[in-house]
Symmetry: C2
Subunit: 222 residues, 2 copies
Amino acid sequence: MTLIVAVDDLTASDAMRLTTSLCGVARGFKIGLPYILRNGADSASLLRKECPQALWVADLKLADIGYVMKLVASAIINDVDAVIAHGFVGLRGALDELKEYLDENGKKLVVVATMSHPGAREVYDKVFPDIIGLLKRLQPWGVVVPATRPETIAVARSELPGSTILSPGVGAQGARPGTALCRGADYEIVGRLITRAPDPLATARRVVAEQEEMLRKCKGLK
Amino acid sequence: MTLIVAVDDLTASDAMRLTTSLCGVARGFKIGLPYILRNGADSASLLRKECPQALWVADLKLADIGYVMKLVASAIINDVDAVIAHGFVGLRGALDELKEYLDENGKKLVVVATMSHPGAREVYDKVFPDIIGLLKRLQPWGVVVPATRPETIAVARSELPGSTILSPGVGAQGARPGTALCRGADYEIVGRLITRAPDPLATARRVVAEQEEMLRKCKGLK
């Protein structure tokens, strides 16, 4: 399964319905900070009960010193499998401490390598090689590279062979399902395209079918 | 008044006691994401009632696309005066949208220009000139530059004459009270040195006295 569904701007009851319905179709669910702030730190625990076998990712976009990132993560760590932090905070006194803490608690660290919006080109992209370098040393379980940047996914795939690549930006932000997978991503993260669809389950199944079709084509197996 | 007190790892009852006691001594209070996650999005509103005349800053360390930063900010915006975001995410599709949203709601944007931990030198510092450049265009109300980096404060002060500079890192992270003020900061943010003191009010008063003493010396007015 190659689909992760992002739950950002849903109410708790809509999110509950959605995750129950998509359990088994989506490999996992990404819960954003907006959702957690609006519904409380234990809201992830309630959702997770609807589909305990899925991969639950807290998209906290942590970007602070290690001490603070650990404090934030501790508020939700028991209810998720993985936590997302930013690569730009660097290793020493930041990501190294967070990874150690997550390792100790049997949780996965996922690190943003770059982003997809136009502003990412103003700053983030200029240090992309530095971030790839620190990710090689850190060896986090996962890395976030946007589906809208296929050439960047290919670089991350070749530089970080041991990492799981998660690619947001499919759907509302413009990338077609399967594009990121074809360049080496392991999962595509889809939000509004599915969560705002009249029939989210049917849409999720269509996205998965498109991913498979695209993968067959790009791998030359059609 | 030049002191802002950081409330990160306190319980709600301790934070309430602290802010009541320091009201009038501290110019404002910075509430971190750990506090908000543990105590709920409305916890800022409860604290604020203890000292409504203070400057209340939500240290969300926002670092996402504009759409998501606005969603997160909306959960707390009515209970604070200012919100902290990272300069790293750039302007277009990120800080420009957040600033517009905060302006519309009569709230202040504070942007992190760099950080104080060793990892900041690995990545953040390499793009410091780019971040100063985008801050000149964005013109946020406030900018965060660590007190442990006095030379960087001086650069920010001279490049961003219209911005209020807030400097964390005084106390537990090593900078002495007044150091940042002497280089051009407007406020020093102090956390554990005060919040973990046996007598926070006496410690806060001592910090303010040290700031004044240091300012007299560095301005040659002793």
